[in-house]
Subunit: 335 residues, 2 copies
């Protein structure tokens, strides 16, 4: 068996996706399920392992599985694999996800924060591939603001596996209370949830962040002001991160980033005013608007490329990167 593959799992609060990924860079098969949160965490782990075993069995006959990457909502303590107070997995606090999966499966896995895996995928296959950048910070504007940091091609974990939380960079010290216990984190001004909240003081009540974006596109002044604030808040956080890390690339994804045209002008304008490093390194002309090959010493800020597949692809890549699971190969070869 010369051909290799990995298995990636994207465990979300709503969807559970498991994929087999050929080492040559092709998705072989994806299984998509609903995450049965109401049935308890062991049901979810059982579904996950059943799908994983099915892919191992189907693709393990013709290929050798070199690793299994699991993307989990955070905060995730590493290397233990224990989930801590996850906002999107209620009741999972303290759950040792690594142990639950490995004991069910009888195989060693690699586990990682899902936002870090999305960042890894963007670096290897998405905006980072287009721009040639080996380091990036990715922000995902979803229910919260997820984030991952890739430094020199590697996920930056920090000393207890909780690094890369750019959604909790402070942009308004006296601002909104955040789910993290702090105040004025970026997440409170740039997530879909925040967009809805910031619109709630207007005379109209939107059903979703998408609706706020539609109103803004129609010229609604309150909705436009909300996206101005999103852009300014992103710029305050980015200015701090640019000044601290001077990365070549910052990638913005997640559902709410579809409103890019509504918030990006304010973001770029404010960032020019706030970060001298950005002023010195901002690309000019067309490069300022579109992600391309990063000119030496330049700072690019652009939209994510991989959409909602980033987390799943990142899990597959992570499985490939961690090729030391002899248990996987043995198990597969005895099948």
């Amino acid at each position: 068996m010369n051909k290799q593959f990995s298995i990636g799992v994207d465990l979300g609060g709503t969807n559970l996706r498991v994929a087999a990924y050929g080492a040559e860079g092709v998705l072989l098969e994806t299984i998509s399920l609903k995450t049965r949160l109401a049935d308890g965490r062991h049901s979810v782990v059982s579904d996950l392992c059943t799908a994983l075993a099915a892919l191992l069995s189907r693709h393990g006959a013709s290929r050798s599985c070199v690793g299994i990457g699991i993307g989990s909502p955070g905060p995730l303590e590493l290397p233990s694999g224990i989930i801590r107070n996850p906002p999107n997995l209620p009741g999972w606090d303290g759950f040792n996800l690594r142990h639950a999966i490995e004991s069910t499966l009888g195989l060693e896995i690699s586990i990682e924060n899902d936002a870090n895996l999305a960042a890894l995928a963007e670096q290897v296959l998405g905006a980072g591939k287009v721009s040639g950048a080996e380091s990036l910070c990715m922000l995902t504007m979803g229910t919260g603001v997820g984030s991952g940091l890739i430094l020199n091609g590697q996920i930056w974990h920090g000393s207890s596996g909780m690094g890369g939380e750019a959604g909790h960079v402070i942009v308004e010290p006296g601002g909104e209370a955040c789910g993290c216990g702090g105040h004025g984190c970026l997440e409170q001004y740039a997530s879909a949830t925040a967009i809805l909240r910031m619109m709630s003081s207007s005379s109209r009540t939107p059903a979703s962040a998408l609706q706020v974006a539609e109103w803004a596109a129609e010229g609604d002044k309150d909705a436009l002001a909300v996206f101005q604030r999103v852009g300014r808040s992103l710029a305050i956080a980015l200015a701090s991160i640019v000044n601290l890390l001077n990365l070549p690339l910052y990638v913005i994804g997640g559902g709410a980033s579809d409103a890019w045209d509504l918030f990006a002008p304010a973001m770029f304008q404010e960032l020019q005013a706030r970060s001298y490093i950005y002023r010195l390194t901002a690309p000019s002309g067309k490069q300022a608007k579109e992600c391309g090959v990063v000119a030496e010493n330049k700072t690019q800020i652009c939209r994510a490329r991989l959409g909602s597949d980033a987390g799943l692809l990142g899990a597959c890549l992570f499985g490939l990167q961690n090729r030391s699971q002899h248990a996987v190969e043995q198990k597969v070869e005895t099948n």
Copy 2:
């Protein structure tokens, strides 16, 4: 010649120090001069090179020089070695310091931002040595707030050599104008200059940050409030950095850090409130107050250990780390 040494240079706006450093970890000789800024930058480079040549000649007879490390005030563009708008070296904007030194000396040098070198020295010989941490962020509370970032034992430069500027993390988005062109940077609330400014609205006019600290120690309410604000501002910046990077160690140095007892309680209290990662990883008991061996997964914040020698020692270490200067060895051996 089995014994090796490096030469380090700490080029400051006031003092110019050049040292020979034995690879076994001992300072062999230090030359301390005033920085003759008024006589022009070429006089400063000339003084620097004369002192450097003297050390090379005196110690090169019995040891082999493996590298020359130069610490320069920033912002410094790397690898070119061009100084950009340096607040402490007026008139040096655009000066190619690397070229000026190398062409005068006829030797290859390694050049680096002085705050990065101070951080390197603290990691190898100071707080990092005591705590066992391989990564740290150092803040230097001086005229400004200098900063350096060491990740896995290496200086983090960022993509254009300007990384590690934690003094320009934003702590008050609508706050004081900063020399960098932004507003509300940490530097405006935690430098000696900021301490003086924040005290200026009181009825007494202090001569120095040290005097503000003396008044605070005597119970002056305005002075105490200034240091509360210093502590809170440090905490806002540190919360953003802790959440982004989850480093094991943050080191605070510089002259104004002598007022540690006046600002640290407010800093720790505010940081507990603002960073969930710090709350989860803060050491308890004695470890919270004193820098020691970092327990796994813990976050330590402590005072710098090396005082005003950090920059010079860092330059020496940097010379040792960059042992590829064949030009140096040849020159020395022909002496």
